[in-house]
Symmetry: C3
Amino acid sequence: MIYKIPKTYFLVSGSSEGHTPLNAFDGALLNAGIGNTNLVKISSIIPPHSTEIQPITFPQGAIVPTAYASISSEIPGEIISAAVAVALPRDDDQPGLIMEYSGRGNREVIELTAKNMAFEGMKMRQQETKEIKSISTEYKVKKIGAAFAAVVLWQ
Amino acid sequence: MIYKIPKTYFLVSGSSEGHTPLNAFDGALLNAGIGNTNLVKISSIIPPHSTEIQPITFPQGAIVPTAYASISSEIPGEIISAAVAVALPRDDDQPGLIMEYSGRGNREVIELTAKNMAFEGMKMRQQETKEIKSISTEYKVKKIGAAFAAVVLWQ
Amino acid sequence: MIYKIPKTYFLVSGSSEGHTPLNAFDGALLNAGIGNTNLVKISSIIPPHSTEIQPITFPQGAIVPTAYASISSEIPGEIISAAVAVALPRDDDQPGLIMEYSGRGNREVIELTAKNMAFEGMKMRQQETKEIKSISTEYKVKKIGAAFAAVVLWQ
């Protein structure tokens, strides 16, 4: 195996104002508690028999495989939201599926969309969904803002 | 070495309808046979002395370095295509080059473009091309669809 | 740990003309000296106690975690620039922060923006900046061109 298969995961979200869109994204990562790591974006599977854990503090600069949604905006007053959802199958030997969604608007709508996406993805796999976990964040932009939600995989 | 250097690779492609563009992308990955993995996007080299293998079934949730092209569309009736091409050098001690291309239109055009790109990339390296391998897929969108083509690297 | 934590880093930049935007990007990577590697994009931390090194020649096809800015253009005569900046904290036990920026215009402006972004990101962490390192490249497009700047992390 080139990489070890992750065995644990957790959900986090955060939002921030920033000097630039990338600074706002960086601030949202800090707000989510994973701002001092090196995120590597992955598409988007929870290995079977994985365990959800409480968010952990990684060694600074650790390289961390993460499925995430993010959105930034430079429109003062705009509401932006980001969400991730994890659908877990009834059959424990099957993988879970992560879906990411972000957009303008309230977190309820964005998070529901992410949950529906995860549910639909399990149907596409002909798997019955046992449970859907999700997290989202909503942010009202002052000048430049970002919202971020993630499923972080770990050993 | 932080990561092991890959020693094998294979080409896959797939397409799908989906509930959302991301669901269609997920479906295209499933159709390509790598839907239950965690793809990490890489730019885009076949290590020297690598071997092409038949597509393998990865452990579910494995993290897999992959060079890929993808496109989604929400325009009913639209034809979308995705292709990857691998140019292999006459000098076996040199690396191969992967190029990705996607767009509206028939797969023949999109795949030929990817092949030309790979050939041009070898010229830029002053390497003579021994062989070009490629794969593509074409999809006619019903409501929301995606096309995907990839070179997957493995140990 | 799924991945080892990087211990060294270096800054590179490059630019190129190309047959397509992706070929120009590939050429810019070659020009930067890392064209025969598999870059994996990361967000964007220098682990504490890391050492800056001279750019090294990687094994061909190595998978390399990299924070980068890139821009391509198909407008003849247009000036494009890409920059990265690394802010290092006075407190050696804290991580450094990488920021990436690219755009139309001269490298001085783009590089200064990246430096400001890195400085602002340290302020957001309530860390005093000891030093900012940066690199940039500027390119005048003939037909299709790309500019690229990166911080490469290594073991």
